[in-house]
């Protein structure tokens, strides 16, 4: 652990694993919110994704199937949310909170038989030559599929929202569902798709927790990360690139404060534990000074009901 960069690589690797679940879940929520729907149930969808991913991986021996099942499970939870809020027009905030609570209980129920069972961590993908490079190799070219996926999804979503026609339609619906409806777009169908995508991404975030981060199932193992992902979307002012920044800032400070404690610096650990949240609030305050910039990116119809009258 000595040498110039000896400490650097493991610290960066820790930051990556702390940030990846946040990034995955927040990317999904960003798309959902861009379509004008606020789904507060990320925590519940993540937990169900985590337990289903774990169970399927354990019983089939295939992490690929486990990841797929986790995404489907997250999407399944989101489907219930979509039906309630888009067809039955239930209140989105209340339904989202109910989804979070339901997911906590449901995942505990599904997971009853999996407590105390160990699993091999998700294999890392290696590239010949590149993975062997010093410093860069282990950081950039020796990660598991979900870490690469998290970056790919940010890039993909960014392209989709701002460079594709479908993305333009999605944003239009989020900003003015009546106008979009009037020119013939199916608001409900597109919002369904956005909600399901958000659920699937939360499921993937859960799978990362139970298959790679800490390869086990334990009740409530996400420990509030779903709520942080939710805050990150606001933090990022609904821009995918800033989401990447926010997730890594948060993950970075989380890891940093543990290292500061280990070094024995006389700063109260409660204060250090608070730091990531403090940083989030601080950035939110700074961003909020410029209200126009937020309004530019925030979906104007966020959380509002749409009912096609007539």
């Amino acid at each position: 652990m000595s040498g110039d960069f000896g400490w650097f690589v493991p610290v960066v690797l820790s930051v990556i694993s702390a940030s990846t679940p946040l990034l995955l879940a927040a990317t999904g929520e960003l798309v959902t919110e861009k379509s004008g729907v606020l789904n507060l149930g990320i925590e519940g969808m993540m937990l169900v994704g985590a337990v289903v991913g774990f169970a399927v991986t354990l019983s089939t021996g295939s992490a690929g199937l486990g990841i797929l099942a986790a995404a489907l499970a997250g999407a399944g939870m989101a489907l219930a949310f979509a039906i309630l809020t888009q067809i039955l027009l239930a209140n989105q905030v209340a339904t989202g909170l109910a989804l979070a609570i339901l997911g906590t209980g449901l995942s505990a129920l599904i997971g009853k038989g999996y407590v105390g069972v160990a699993l091999q961590p998700l294999p890392k993908l290696t590239l010949p030559l590149l993975s062997g490079l010093p410093v860069i190799g282990p950081i950039l070219f020796h990660q598991d599929v979900l870490v690469y996926g998290s970056f790919a999804f940010v890039a993909g979503v960014s392209w989709f929202l701002y460079h594709s026609h479908a993305g333009l339609v999605l944003r239009a619906i989020g900003d003015s569902h009546h106008a979009a409806h009037a020119i013939g777009y199916s608001v409900v169908a597109i919002r369904f798709a956005a909600i399901l995508f958000g659920g699937a991404m939360s499921g993937l975030a859960g799978a990362y927790m139970s298959l790679a981060y800490t390869p086990m199932w334990a009740e409530n193992m996400t420990a509030g990360r779903g709520w942080i992902a939710l805050a990150l979307v606001v933090f990022a002012t609904w821009r995918p690139a800033r989401l990447l920044l926010g997730a890594y800032l948060f993950g970075g400070i989380t890891i940093l404060q543990l290292h500061v404690q280990g070094l024995g610096l006389a700063i109260p650990s409660q204060f250090l534990s608070m730091l990531p949240y403090l940083a989030t609030i601080l950035v939110l305050v700074l961003i909020s000074r410029d209200a126009a910039r937020i309004r530019l990116n925030a979906p104007a119809c966020l959380g509002k009901h749409f009912h096609a009258s007539g």
């Binding site: 652990m1 400490w7 493991p10 610290v11 820790s14 694993s17 702390a18 679940p21 925590e43 609570i101 906590t104 209980g105 505990a108 997971g111 009853k112 407590v115 105390g116 069972v117 160990a118 961590p121 927790m209 981060y213 800490t214 390869p215 086990m216 334990a218 009740e219 409530n220 193992m221 996400t222 420990a223 509030g224 990360r225 989380t254 890891i255 543990l258 290292h259 404690q261 280990g262 070094l263 024995g264 006389a266 700063i267 109260p268 650990s269 409660q270 534990s273």
Partner: protein, 360 residues
Amino acid sequence: MRRRTFNKLLGATVATAALGRVGLARAADPFKAGFIYVGPVADFGWSHQHDLGRQAAQDALGDKIKTTFVESVKEGPDAERVIHELAAAGNGIIFTTSFGFMNPTIKVAKQFPKVYFEHATGYKQADNVSTYNIRFYEGRYIQGVIAGKLSKSGVVGYIGSVPIPEVVMGMNSFMRGMRTVNPNGKMKIVWINGWYDPGKESDAAKALIDQGADMIAQHTDSAAPLQVAEQRGVQGFGQASDMIKFAPKAQLTSSIDHWGDYYTQRVQAAMDGSWKSQDVWGGLAAGMLKMAPYTNMPDDVAKAAQDAEDGIKSGKIVIFSGPINDQDGKPKVVEGQALSDSQVLGMDWLAEGIEGTLPK
């Protein structure tokens, strides 16, 4: 000790409403004993171990008793309702197994003077309320001896939950054990300010390993730190239950909470009328704390661990006997003296060799 009171308990009301009536329909022939747990029995930690204790009592006493449990009960008003229900349902003895159940237990005990109550980890007794706890710190001493022998860097990483005497005495005990074999042994501490967050526990373990620790000890509930130790090729110790499945190469031993014998004795005493209010703080000698097999270490280290275990059992080793200095080198206990139980229970200083701070 307060255990996980967050999301896990959201389903508590529903669960207790359903489970609170388990076993009530049966004929009242066998003596009834009730248990309430703060977490789910599947937590693989605190509540899980209490439930193993209940099962042991049921197995030992067979048809003569009928045990009932209610899991995931929130500390507070909900607990009072559940304890009341168990008492009203004809349980002759009721075990309330979390620190936060203390006041509800005392309150319900007043209303049911003929029912015996047993409260774990608390400090309030009454004519029909006993308290009981385990000297978890004894296991830490043995872990310290093992770490002192095996650590190449001489640095142990210790993941703390919350800075209360229960946790602090464990750290100091570990350090005492370690320094008997390695006078220069050091401990680094990271607090996660909670009992349970697998992700954060594993991050803390990684941070400690990155800073040179090659032994990981924890006072948190999940097996995540041991998993990290396994992946990083260092070693560590399990907590509350045997976690060898998570770390077949990394786990050296684990301090296992063992409530079964105590539960059997107390239910038996309640049945034959010899039950008396008492305050029990039992450890290795009482069989309330057991060590998982000493694995993944050479024979001489296993022997040193066994010797420490025997020494604590026989009373030859008194863990908090002087001289003990605090982390600034100031004497805390002078030679020839030892800390009393009440001093141990109020411990608010870190022993020499521990780096890191005790949040005040």
